[in-house]
């Protein structure tokens, strides 16, 4: 039972988590405040012989206070969120690596640019359920789907974006540490939804070079 | 407590100053508005998203014929409202005649639409993607038949209701101060006409 988020390994992961914790504080306070008052009233004003309830119909000032108060709080939360959201979703990074992630029941096919570094040429090569990226270097994945809607989910990097057939949705991230991370499918996509898993391998630039060369060789044969 | 005294004389508080049947019909028509919003809205959105899937006006659809059909439906609205006006002045004969006229025009409208469907289908303009062979794309067929089809169904239901009202009129069920049935079937009928006015413009002319 924990309200903490697992460690995040992407550049914007921290911002997302910060907003989460801010909201956790705000709602936490709101929670203990309202539930506390509730319980206190229940105890304080429980039925006793001869007690007669106050005969009041409300209080306009109180109404204004909590209306305005709540409005202000949610407004602030909204404003905080907009910043991160537009950073994550509305601006794609320059000089990023590019791959095409094409989802289908129940696998992720990742197409890499290959030698020329351009996608859509014949030297591209495709790996099944394997995403490879370089640490501290942004990468854009162009999400496609061949059959139904899937959702490209990298829990450790705070990335989630649906892959919709008939659309190409770009999603980007920048890993901050090398290692192996899980790729999951977050949108119900059929009986194999639960096992539509892949891996994200984040290399150092050098390792990535080596791996890419090896793959190109393999594709060559 | 003067308000209560007044309320007492009035009996139930008629919040709309409109009798139940009529209010109920209006309320129902609001939901009909949203229903056609769903269909027409989807058409607008899909067409906006995929212009190439749709043909220019007049290329596939037969505009003159449908324009004439629109005219027929408008006429049926006049006859309907005349039926109402007739009974409002207690004119039983007028009521029956105008109702019959409305039924005739409504049936005629549906007839022309069926004829139009057959003609279109022969040119490969069909709802299903697999067999679609006309200009534009399958979305055109899908949306066209769904929208006009549901409107046609509404007209057909309207005609059936009109038959029922006519039958009751024959039994002398209506009079100048009891014309609820005639009025609400009229409301429905005019609404269906109204929807067609929009459909004709959006589907056939734009």
């Amino acid at each position: 039972m924990s309200w903490m988020l697992p460690e995040s390994f992407s550049t914007f992961g921290g911002d997302i988590d910060r907003i989460y914790y801010i909201i956790l504080w705000i709602t936490g306070i709101a929670f203990f405040l309202s539930e506390g008052i509730l319980v206190y009233f229940l105890f304080r004003y429980r039925h006793k012989e001869g007690r007669k309830a106050k005969y009041v119909h409300g209080n306009t000032r109180a109404e204004i206070v909590w209306t305005a108060g709540t409005a202000l709080i949610v407004f602030i939360v909204g404003m905080l969120s907009i910043g991160v959201w537009s950073r994550v979703r509305t601006q794609l990074p320059q000089d990023a690596m590019e791959v095409i992630v094409s989802a289908k029941q129940f696998e992720w096919n990742v197409t890499y640019p290959g030698q020329d570094g351009v996608i859509g040429t014949e030297d591209d090569f495709t790996k099944r359920n394997e995403v490879h990226a370089v640490v501290d270097r942004p990468i854009i994945a162009y999400l496609r789907a061949e059959d139904v809607i899937h959702s490209f989910f990298l829990p450790d990097l705070r990335v989630k974006q649906d892959a919709v057939p008939g659309m190409e949705t770009p999603v980007w991230f920048e890993a901050t540490e090398t290692g192996e991370y899980v790729v999951g499918c977050a949108e119900l996509c059929g009986l194999g939804h639960y096992r539509m898993a892949g891996t994200l391998t984040v290399h150092t630039a050098a390792d990535y070079q080596a791996w890419e060369q090896a793959e190109i060789q393999a594709a060559g044969q | 407590m003067t308000t209560d005294a007044m309320a007492l004389e009035r009996g139930y508080m008629p919040g709309m100053r409109v009798y139940n049947l009529k209010l109920g019909m209006w309320v129902f028509l609001l939901s009909e508005v949203m229903f056609f919003t769903g269909l027409i809205g989807s058409y607008i959105i899909l067409r906006f998203a995929h212009p190439t899937q749709f043909a220019e006006p007049g290329v596939v659809l037969n505009v003159p014929l449908t324009a004439f059909n629109t005219f027929v439906l408008i006429c049926s609205s006049v006859t309907m409202v005349k039926a109402y006006a007739a009974i409002a002045t207690g004119d039983q004969k007028g009521l029956k005649i105008w109702l019959l006229a409305t039924i005739a025009l409504g049936t005629f409208f549906v007839g022309i639409q069926v004829f139009e469907y057959i003609a279109l289908a022969q040119h490969g303009f069909v709802p299903m993607a697999s067999a679609y062979a006309a200009e534009g794309g399958a979305l055109y067929g899908s949306t066209f038949y769904t929208m006009t089809g549901f409107h046609g169904t509404h007209v057909t239901i309207g005609v059936l209701c009109l038959w029922f009202v006519l039958w009751r009129a024959w039994k002398g069920a209506y009079s100048a101060d009891s014309l609820g049935g005639v009025e609400i079937v009229g409301l429905y009928w005019h609404f269906v006409d109204l929807v067609w006015i929009i459909l004709f413009t959006i589907v056939y002319l734009i």
């Binding site: - | 139930y12 008629p14 919040g15 709309m16 100053r17 409109v18 009798y19 139940n20 049947l21 009529k22 209006w26 309320v27 028509l29 609001l30 508005v33 949203m34 919003t37 809205g41 607008i44 959105i45 906006f48 998203a49 006006p57 007049g58 505009v63 003159p64 324009a67 629109t70 005219f71 408008i74 006429c75 609205s77 006049v78 309907m80 409202v81 005349k82 006006a85 409002a88 100048a176 101060d177 009891s178 014309l179 609820g180 009025e183 009229g186 409301l187 005019h190 609404f191 006409d193 109204l194 006015i197 929009i198 004709f200 413009t201 959006i202 002319l205 734009i206």
Partner: protein, 100 residues
Amino acid sequence: MDPQPAQEAAMEHAEEHKDPPYFLVWGVLFILTILEVFFAFTGLPKFWIATGLIIMALWKALLVAMYYMHLRFEPRRMWILAASPLPLAVILVIAVLTEF
């Protein structure tokens, strides 16, 4: 169960002094329809054709609602009731259109 429209019909007649001009409205609808058809095929830019046609269509729809559905002779709250779904319809279509 249902109070007969007697008093209510009476009220209506009180407000609407004589029969509304049903046939006049019919004439206008007829002319507008013809105008629409011709306007649709004047080679104007698509945008203008669309706006022009929609204006005419809404005009016709309004005529039907006002005169044939007697909205003109109903209490104002009926107007509000009748207009209530329109904003929602607009919101839905506009919002989704911004997608594309």
